[in-house]
Amino acid sequence: MGNRTVDTRIQIGNVIFHSPVMVASGTFGYGFEYQDVVDVSQLGAVITKSITQEPRAGNHPPRIVETAAGMLNSIGLANIGLQRFVEEMLPRYDNYPTRIIVNIAGSTPEEYLTVLEALAPYPQIAAFEMNFSCPNVKEGGICFGVDAKLSFNLTQALRNITSKPLIIKLTPNITSPVEVALAVQEAGADAVSMINTLVGMAVDIHTWKPRLGNVTGGLSGPAIKPIALAQIWQVYQEVSIPIIGMGGISSVHDAIEFFLVGASAVQIGTANFVHPPTAMEITSGLTRYMQEKGLASLQDIIGKLKVEA
């Protein structure tokens, strides 16, 4: 079994990715920042920072706090905005060594639609991930991600704009993610990605102040992995579209757990900060694992968790 070839390709919507290992939005910049130490051609895709209609300066500092086996962030979707993204980044993606998935965020449904309409025609973009779940942005007042009806309506409107893969990034800050996952599937989403960060907090006992300028932030890193696995397993049993799993993955061991509970692909987030080549190493580690286990394709492990009846 040693040298048999394994098929690590994965299809999402009408696009095939050569590897199921991607790097998560907000943890890999616009795809260029880590190229000194990461061979991005080995990644299934790079997911950009969230792009919003207008540039965003981001939240008041401090924006980062380390916690036990994790980190809290309250970046506030700091990004260069749609116009500069089109002018400065898109041309640089012409010969980019792997697929680019653009993550889109907004404060209103119209903002998502405007940004998607503007970006949909560009051939440099393979797919779109819709951030329905940023925990750090207050204005607008609506968190689409917790409301199945709003999520359905927005996904349907987005679906009408593009035939490229549409991935909806779900929030974990909800009693059960299943209802929203089913709603976006019904509305035509090609995949869901989960989990985004969990709302969390840290407090300075000397100053009695919150340790983030925004008071609360999003928790990521190894600390959230068990929650991610449980939510993906829940959704996998109800939903038929692919799930792109993330939440604390930092090794191939972690990634395989995600495939077993039902993820068709994975995203590496916080681990990029700690060890930039993590996603690359997971890609090769996954191939080795499949060879050793005699698995021909990813379909042989996705959702194959053995649960006693």
Partner: protein, 260 residues
């Protein structure tokens, strides 16, 4: 400027004060490429806690032995683990990162102003300067301060409690030094934000250029996480890891930075 991810052995460890060590690492690409003011992101151990890398200014380079130095002061979990590391241990280092101190044309004297462990990058700058310089090193008390033999003749000390050198703040020492020197000068400073704000004011009043090296919590060090903003005088933010850590002082909105 490219950066590297290297596994670097600690080749020398010396105590600078009771709670501060100098760690020299062998890391050829970093030692040869680094410029004064740049920093490294160091993984204190390969486990999930503490999770994130720690940022350290490069405090000296010795290209002949492919080595660079950082100075670590006991602060939190990460620095305490680092203080316990011994020669021969290997650490994962990303660098050199960020901007560097820029030469200022036509000056006769460089004034290097350091507060506490903020002194570190100024030694590297002193190594490369081709003009006369003074290193002004301020701290709360003598137990925080130290001298390096190669720079000692140029070092001046001050402490808030008067236990070493002039009593008072490093800005007092800066003002005194400015009165003593003749010819054009420039200030290069690193330390706590309050101190940098005060140093920038002194330099501005004296009409001399000032560059500051800043610190902020950061996760990545390479312009990805957007976790390390400092307010820009023109509005919005600059990022310590990729726009800095060294900034022209006039670029930073110190009032907003210090008052929150």
């Amino acid at each position: 400027m490219p950066y590297y991810q290297l596994t670097c052995p600690i080749i020398r460890k010396t105590h600078l004060t009771s709670g501060t060590v100098s760690l020299w690492f062998r890391g050829p690409q970093i030692a040869h490429a680094a410029r004064p003011g740049q920093f490294v992101m160091l993984r204190v151990r390969n486990e999930v806690h503490p999770l994130l890398r720690r940022a350290f200014s490069i405090s000296r380079c010795n290209p002949e032995e492919d080595a660079f130095e950082i100075m670590v002061q006991a602060a939190g979990t990460g620095s305490r683990i680092l203080l316990e590391q011994e020669e021969g241990e290997m650490l994962d280092v990303l660098g050199p990162l960020g901007s560097s101190f820029q030469p200022v044309e036509g000056i006769q004297t460089a004034l290097l102003v350091g507060g506490g462990i903020g002194i570190a990058p100024l030694f590297f700058l002193a190594q490369t300067l081709e003009v006369d310089y003074h290193i002004l090193f301020g701290g709360r008390s003598h137990s925080q301060l130290f001298a390096l033999p190669e720079f000692e003749p140029q070092m001046r000390f001050c402490t808030e409690d008067g236990s070493l050198g002039q009593k008072g703040l490093v800005t007092d020492l800066l003002q005194k030094t400015l009165q003593e020197i003749s010819g054009k000068a420039a200030v290069f400073a690193c330390g706590p934000n309050q101190m940098l704000a005060a140093v920038a004011r002194v330099a501005e009043k004296a009409g001399i250029p000032c560059q500051v090296s800043m610190e902020a919590p950061m996760a990545c060090g390479v312009g990805v996480c957007m976790g390390c903003p400092v307010p820009d005088v023109k509005g919005g933010y600059r990022y310590v890891c990729k726009d800095g850590p060294v900034f022209p002082a006039e670029m930073i909105h110190f009032k907003q930075l210090v008052n929150g």
